[in-house]
Symmetry: C2
Subunit: 645 residues, 2 copies
């Protein structure tokens, strides 16, 4: 009768004790999490997540990427992480390219791409690492750096010997198993370790059986699971899996799936991996080798049917995709298999980071809602993240944002596109109002270009903000330049497709919020109007010099998004915080200059218009505390315009 | 334009900075409270509270009590503290009786009565202390003990010399000023210090003027405010106050008000204080000296008119009442003056303790809702109190409750009364059901006695529980023996007279809660029914041996009362916590034996019935997570009875 559940804080199961000790003792030595576990995933390591999915009978997938060659390609890859991350991969992995300075701080290095995936895209990530031709110190250095960056998973590989005449080094890292042992010796159980399996045997192995024995050695040296090399027939994998089990390999074995995407990429991969393409596939492909679309379509069919067979076997719970950094084919296969999450549930209203230090983080200021990567960047040095209550944060200091051009923070659009959207030439403040208005309405600007991003928001309007579209359009036209807003919500189900977040069975709430830049003339009128709303509306009004006007009591944060869930404490993930608003203010004003003014020549009229706004406008935020009533903020703005007329 | 507000964490005012430093710095050195300040009072020391009330133009009162002579009188005095505390005194004070071992651990000592007032009744308390005829070490010891117990305020007095022939001791404590200096020397600014003022001059002073100079010395030695000896005419006090100000005494001076309550008490007090009763009062009293009611009525009139004159003078903001440990006269004066709080706003749904360590405490398990003093007792050794989130508590171990007979924990009713209420002789479990039912309905039991308390609740049914009266009656009749419950509330104003708490302008919420003892037969049926409600209802079911059945996820607490306030983080003062439920279980089961079974002879049938229930029943709690819907817990119980039939 006693209910036993898996404890989300640890791998061990902590059952309720039957006939337990007396209460006064049992309350001492409980192993309860100190944070509410809305999303059990966040508190598990990769091998636990894998096990839990398997126990629950949930099928999952993972995605492999290689580091890009150029900085621009890195920007694109990060957007791809965000888009493909939305489909719900259990993890992604980033390959290790010894020739590309993989452990360096370059924006194209394996290390930095993996770091970005974990910290800024919130993806569980495996970093590949090869050991051949490297010193112990090099390898330890890479692993230490990976740990420091919050990476928790390593794929331990031998790598290709550099020269033709490779010879074993005594005491060197000659095989992947040496790297596995080294990781376990030096880092104990910190990392989850993955190793490669070869369904056809490693090309250099003496035999298939010898290769299986090597694999077993790697597993027994401490690997947690196996990802296989690609293969072309499901029976190849299923036989391999049975053979592994027969010699005592019991850890998860994840098949590597390669959806054929083109004739040349197939040939190249086959050459590298020394595999042979089966005749039945060659027969189809050779005649259509110049028709990319046809090959891709065939590749998708083939992958779908192979994956189905694998999943139907009952032996396979997860599928690993070699994406070649492309989206279309893999996404299509996943959608057809029905394991791409069409409606990913948000664990919190903002994208959580996968850094282990941030596991407890469950409250953030609303200001960075559209700039989560910047928020993560500016708080990366925090020792503790606020948990439950913003005021508890013991490290409230924000790092300065000087690096507007870090590839994971910068606009996805090049300068020319931005100029088309925001105006090659501005004629006055009014033309700035127009840009804001076009961003809200989604209609083309006077030159026929749609405004799909703004300095404060690199993406089109959020679905939730769309609910406020008509009102936002009206106020932006008149110089209330909105950069952040949310409607009030009085207890919608947590599964609501637009405003929902967290597990099902809960209720979510919001206070209406509006944040905008506006002129001092409007601010003067607004302040008079706000007197009428003193009990109801909290405001913060600040200019670039830091002049600060507020009616917030005692520097307390105001919770503006919260959720009530079955069997949980209250979660309040978003607050309006008077103190961090001043840090946000610096960033919000700087974006006028860094992202907009600098598009124009110095001393040009356009640049001077933006500079004028930067120097003279105020940044305002308003919260309507009466969330059960109709949002009064539009009335506040209406009253302000009336007063001005 | 910049809003300046008093910071509730400190006496100094922390204005918003105009033209402040940049955000990244300002977020470092802010002096924001680490806890939300729902009730600024809790974070202020007495002298700050006094100042804030004065600045706001709020009139206030305080109440003086003396320690009782017997343990029974102590029980009564504590109930009086609870009742008179509800009227909203700014503080109470407890006099120091050198003859009564005032610093001891006896339940009638000044120290223990003051300790109880602070910790268990949540009252800001001043402990009197006299110094004459005591050694420095004695006094330091008393002060250290007071500090340890959480007392923050001392009234420093000389006290009456023990012998007739009192002589100054060299280096001894001869005057109150010596004690003030000692407190400041040894305890710095820890205590707020009060001293006595004599509107007619101290009877032993050389002159009125000399006495004023002594008073000034006491103030300049470090006293924070003055409470005066009683007086009979308002002009006596007003003249005294002006004379004080004239010689440079600027601290608050609080008039001591003595409502005449009887002929003899007046005579005695006058004798002790060496005051003279004015002729106009004597003229009224002498003819009616044997008519207590008439004298009290006159005393109330006199006090009301004097207080009105004092308050109308604009010089007086607070009134100090010499209660003589009686309620009626003082309460009547306060009600007629309009400063008795008729509808005291609850800062939180439970009574907060005034111990400085507990200032941040803002969440408790619901189980002790009717036994707050026991909760405070069992958590008195905690170093940190949970703040914002129950799971944050770093000291979750509950002390054992062995001392059921501590005077502040024990039932207010004597054994004979309890027997009348709960039955001189029980005939079976059914007669126990009847007792529970009579407690709920408020109707007399079969012997004609009303059941006004239960072992788990020393007071009649709370107004809030009354909302559930009909349903509770039905289920108790059938053996669901309820000891705690609350209705679901979906966003009522925080000013709601029944379920409201916290400052105005907020909204309060509750999940429906039901806690009861019941037989294993009913539990078996209940568990079957609960399967249908798996997503909706969380339950904990435990017997005295600790067998524990629950569907609570991950040992997480479930917030069952929370409030949303303007400009604040969410407050969730009450949780159902799986871990502390096991500590509560020990107490709840023990109360069957300690409070009920032990009323009967050993081996008597009545005692064996209670013992049987204690040994075999289960303690059950149920939470309906769907607070916006109609409470389903009654349906759960209904379904259970249907299944049993």
């Amino acid at each position: 009768m006693v209910n036993e559940t898996q404890h989300p804080c640890s791998a061990s199961s902590s059952s309720r004790s039957d006939g337990s000790s007396s209460g006064s003792e049992s309350s001492k030595d409980n192993s309860r999490c100190s944070t509410p576990v809305l999303d059990a995933d966040r508190h598990e390591r990769l091998r636990e997540k894998m096990r839990r999915r398997q126990d629950a009978g949930d099928k999952w997938f993972s995605l492999e990427f290689f580091p890009p060659r150029t900085a621009n390609a890195a920007v694109n890859l990060i957007s791809r992480f965000d888009r493909m991350g939305a489909g719900g991969p259990l993890f992604i992995d980033v390959t290790w390219h010894p020739a590309g300075d993989p452990g360096s701080d370059k924006e194209t290095s394996s290390m930095i791409i993996a770091n970005t995936a974990v910290n800024y895209c919130g993806l569980e990530t495996i970093l590949h690492m090869t050991c051949c031709n490297q010193t112990k110190d090099d390898i330890t250095g890479h692993l230490q750096k990976a740990k420091r960056l919050g990476l928790k998973n390593i794929m331990a590989l031998r790598g290709d010997p550099a020269g033709e005449e490779w010879e074993e080094e005594v005491d060197g890292f000659n095989y992947a198993v040496d790297l596995v042992k080294h990781i376990r010796n030096e880092f104990d159980d910190y990392f989850d370790v993955c190793v490669a399996g070869y369904p056809k045997g490693h090309p250099e192995a003496e035999s298939y059986e010898a290769d299986l024995r090597h694999l077993k050695e790697k597993v027994f040296a401490g690997a947690d699971f196996i990802i296989t090399q690609l293969f072309f027939r499901p029976e190849t994998f299923l036989k391999f899996m049975k053979d592994c089990q027969a010699i005592g390999i019991t850890c998860p074995i994840i098949p590597g799936i390669f959806p054929i995407q083109g004739y040349h990429s197939l040939r190249q991969l086959v050459k590298l991996s020394k595999l042979e393409v089966p005749q039945e596939i060659k027969d189809v492909i050779e005649p259509i080798k110049d028709n990319d679309a046809a090959i891709r379509s065939y590749g998708v069919e083939l992958a779908v049917s192979m994956c189905r067979e694998l999943l139907d076997s009952g032996m396979v719970h997860g599928l690993h995709f070699y994406t070649l950094n492309r989206e279309v084919a893999t996404t299509e296969v996943l959608k057809r298999l029905g394991i791409w999450k069409e409606d990913p549930r948000r664990p919190l209203p903002w994208a959580v980071s996968a850094h282990p230090k941030r596991r407890v983080e469950d409250v953030r200021p609303i200001f960075w809602a559209s700039r989560p990567k910047s928020y993560i960047y500016r708080t990366q040095e925090w020792d503790d993240f606020p948990n439950g209550r913003w005021g508890n944060s013991s490290s409230p200091a924000f790092g300065e944002l000087k690096d507007y051009y870090l590839f994971y923070l910068k606009s996805k659009s090049p300068r020319e596109e931005l100029l088309k959207m925001w105006g090659e030439e501005l004629t006055g403040e009014e033309s700035v109002f127009e840009v804001f208005t076009c961003y809200i309405t989604g209609e083309p600007n006077r030159n026929g270009y749609k405004v799909t991003c703004m300095p404060w928001n690199d993406d089109p309007l959020a679905t939730e903000t769309n609910l406020l579209k008509d009102e936002l359009e009206k106020v932006n036209r008149r110089g209330i330049l909105t950069i952040n807003s949310q409607p009030n919500i009085n207890g919608k189900p947590s599964t609501d497709p637009i405003v929902g977040w967290g597990p099902s069975g809960g209720y979510v709430f919001q206070k209406a919020y509006l944040e905008f830049f506006t002129s001092s003339e409007i601010v003067t009128a607004l302040l008079k109007v706000l007197k009428k709303y003193e009990q109801r509306v909290n405001y913060h009004i600040v200019n670039v010099k830091g002049q600060n006007i507020t009616n917030a009591p005692d520097l307390q944060p105001n919770a503006v998004t919260w959720g009530i869930f079955p069997g949980r404490e209250i979660i309040q993930p978003t607050v309006v915080d008077p103190v961090s608003f001043l840090s946000w203010k610096d960033e919000a004003f700087a974006l006028w200059i860094e992202q907009w003014a600098k598009l124009y020549e110095e001393e040009s009229p356009s640049r001077m218009i933006i500079q004028y706004i930067h120097d003279n406008y105020y940044l305002v935020n308003l919260v309507d505390n009466d969330f059960p009533l109709e949002n009064c903020l539009w009335q506040v703005v209406e009253d302000t315009f009336e007063l001005l007329n």
